[in-house]
Amino acid sequence: MADPILSSARLAKAFGGLVVCDGVELGVYPGEIHALIGPNGAGKTTLLNLITGLLTPDAGTLVFRGRDITNMSVPARARLGMARSFQVSSLFPSFTVRENIELAVQACQGSSYAFWRRPDRDAAITGPANQLLQRVGLGELAQRKAGEIGHGEQRQLEIGMALASRPALLVLDEPMAGLGPASARAMAHLIQQLQGNMAILLVEHDMDAVFALADRISVLVQGRIIATGKGREIRENEMVQEAYLGTQCSL
Amino acid sequence: MLVLEQILNGLQLGVMLFLMSAGLTLVFGIMQVVNLAHGSFYMIGAYVAATVAMKTGSFFLGLAAALPAAALAGMAVEMLILRRLYRRDHLDQVLATFGLIFFFNEATRMIWGRQPLFMDVPELLAGSVQILPGVQYPVYRLAIIVVGILVAVFLYLLFSRTRLGMQIRAGATNREMIGALGVNIRLLYTLIFGLGTLLAGLAGVMAGPILAVESGMGESILILTFVVIVIGGIGSVRGALIGAILVGLVDTLARAFLPDLFRLLLDSASAADRMGAALASMSVYVFMALVLALRPAGLFPVSR
């Protein structure tokens, strides 16, 4: 198998006396959809924050595309090819949907220290922006302010912005959060279409989606990855059943 | 010894700054409100004390009147105006409290006129005392330092031994939680604010005999108070104490000795005086910049 695009070794993080990540060993391979599941409070969001750089680990290392990114800043990681969507939509509410996407495109294209030309008249930005709007199905709402569109559309915009940089690794934090069944299916469809183009690290509670989409699954319990493997292996793993599936939900 | 005298002066300034900043840092840290009008309560304390002292001839009656006045004024402002600003962004708070400054400054000018008032040092504390062989120091200023120590001890006991203090400390780290535990947040906030303004008023009263009591007197000490809070760490009373002492010492010692130091270094006496005086007045801010360069959140930041 090729080298992992993202790997962590002995990644640890504690807040005061509370140990949230306790030596996490994770590996994500190019082109795969890798799901991260675990009971609430297992440390999933903290782990994502460590991976994307919003938190610095107390110990351990992170390697992304062959580079040690353990102490790299958030923007530097993004420029290296990591993109993220948030569990609670993190957009620019007073910008229009189009402007949100344009900014995401702008961020990975040339210098933003340009004081004169307008990005909305620049084909290098508007072209890809339009494509992205179509891809996530927000073409109709392009002129609405991002803070005024519905929750489902905001989730779509989140994804759209993450895709703008054509990332090598896409980190999705509960993309289906708060979506109704139809929207969730549409979101799952969208994610599935991305498969193969990029590696995707997906945190999700919706078990149907997880087992349908993921190539491999890692289970995080109390700050440790207790199992990694394909869907069926995980389902049949006793430790996982006991720690998670047995108490939470049945499959 | 000149140095000892200046150190004591520095401590005395530090005490005043501590009184101003202790309450304010709590307001910043717990209620997350930028209150530019804090200096106004310092001024109210001074004015009330001066007026009562002039009428009755007693400094201590003035003090007794000023403290409740400052506390009540503070609580009134909190209930009428500040309360509505807790959820607003800082810009709104800056502007509204700015408006309060205008109002209070102008009100004092309307009531008391533009001429500064003067307060006499109380008989009891007049004169100097010999603290070391050959070194005299004004009793009044020593009294201020003593008051500062007492207030620090009082606050320490308040925070560590009483329920109210515990609630305040809890509120500093987790606002929502104490509400959930049934503490009356509104009342708590009003009391905290009142405590802060009471201390500011106390500082104003004590400053009365030393400085002139006039409209706008609060602003000059307010900026130094901000510097203390930034250095000490927002929300930390301990930081306010350490910061206040440091700022008091740095400012006093710099003003006292920098001009002389420059005279030693430079030939031209007038140039030395100029540079020395200029740098002395800037010393506190340079100190602040240094602290911030090393610790952007201050010396004792309160983590939420």
Binding site: L54, S73, V74, P75, A78, S90, L91, F92, S94, F95, E102, A107, C108, S111, S112, Y113, A114, F115, W116, R117, P119, G147, M161 | F28, V34, R84, L85, R87, R88, D89, H90, L91, D92, V94, L95, A96, F98, G99, L100, I101, F102, F103, E106, M110, E219, I223, V227, V230, I234, S268, A271, A277, A278, A280, S281, M282, V284, Y285, M288, P296
Partner: protein, 339 residues
């Protein structure tokens, strides 16, 4: 096409405003109120200062309470260089070739440069903080300069210093009040035009985005710090120019120009006029200065009204006068504030 149509009412109003300002001196002459020309010129200069604050405050979200410091640096640059020019002494004893000068083409760029430098140095420290810290630190740095200038007795100390004349500009006699007015108007319009391009450029978008959601900007791959610092320096330079113009207009400088209450007044101008809109600060500056002038005629205690008025505006009317005028018109992006 839709954007142009929706923009038109606001554009028309702005053009009308400029026209009004162009004919104002004539109007004042006709109504026998020439004495108001100097007030109007000051209003133009403060409009420039307020507009520069609007860049970092309205668009960038940085609540800086030290903006008057930049004006002070610009003003004192003019004054110090003029003083040494008049006295024929070098500015710094150990640099004899650094003579004073009254030539605007040297002094004003220098004023802007020095203000920008101060912005850079203080910004490097202050912009690593935010919220309450940032407000208080900008305040402190401005006060530091206030004390510095107060202690410089050679240049007037706390009483300030008069200038013997205005700076010289080839071809334009700035000593003529009407010409100075039009010059300041030109500078203001040019700056507003520059600002308009700036806020709609790539840079401007990142600046506004950083105000709304800094983490998101970082996750997209951009570091907000550099954008904030750059805009802080630009605003500082513009305010420095305003300060230089102010020193020329009144032919007087004093440390009071740097007092934090001045910074507060400039901020009030921005708010009164509505933020994140280009012409708001101009409206705010004119309203505040003319209000001060007229209210002072009624009572010397007019300030007691300003305080509660400000409080009421803050508590109830967001967006300021500008939004009262322009909000009903479509188009434009409104500055959002988090609760």
């Amino acid at each position: 096409m839709k954007a142009f149509v929706s923009m038109r009412p606001r554009l028309l109003l702005s053009v009308a405003g400029v026209c009004l300002l162009v004919v104002l001196p004539r109007l004042l002459e006709l109504t026998g109120q020439e004495y108001l020309l100097s007030l109007a010129t000051r209003a133009l200069i403060y409009s420039l200062a307020a507009a520069s604050l609007n860049l970092i405050l309205g668009y960038g979200g940085m609540v800086s309470l030290g903006h008057a410091a930049f004006m002070g640096i610009g003003a004192y640059t003019v004054a110090i260089l003029a003083h040494h020019s008049y006295e024929s002494t070098p500015v710094l004893a150990f640099l004899p070739f650094l003579q004073g000068t009254e030539q605007a083409l040297i002094v004003w760029p220098l004023a802007m440069l020095l203000s920008a430098l101060f912005a850079l140095l203080t910004g490097l420290i202050a912009l690593r903080t935010r919220g309450m810290h940032f407000i208080m630190i900008t305040l402190a740095f401005a006060q530091m300069l206030f004390f510095l200038f107060t202690s410089l007795d050679t240049y007037g100390g706390s009483d300030g210093m008069s200038l013997y004349g205005r700076n010289t500009l080839p071809g334009i006699d700035l000593g003529n009040d009407t010409l100075l007015y039009y010059f300041c108007l030109t500078v203001l319009v040019l700056f507003l035009f520059f600002m308009q391009r700036l806020v709609r450029s790539r840079f401007g978008r990142v600046l506004e985005a950083s105000r709304e959601n800094e983490i998101r900007v970082q996750v997209l791959g951009l570091a907000p710090f550099g954008f904030k610092l750059t805009s802080y320096c630009l605003a500082g330079a513009a305010a420095g120019l305003a300060g230089a113009l102010l020193a020329n207009q009144g032919e007087f400088v004093s440390p009071g120009m740097l007092h934090w209450t001045r910074s507060g007044e400039i901020m009030v101008m921005v708010i009164l006029g509505g933020m994140a809109r280009l012409t708001g600060p101009v409206i705010g500056a004119f309203v505040l200065l003319f209000l001060e002038e007229y209210l002072a005629m009624f009572t010397e205690h007019w300030m007691i009204l300003l305080g509660p008025f400000l409080i009421v505006v803050v508590l109830f009317a967001r967006g300021g006068i500008h939004s009262l005028l322009f909000d009903r018109l479509p188009g434009g992006r409104r500055a959002q504030h988090n609760g």
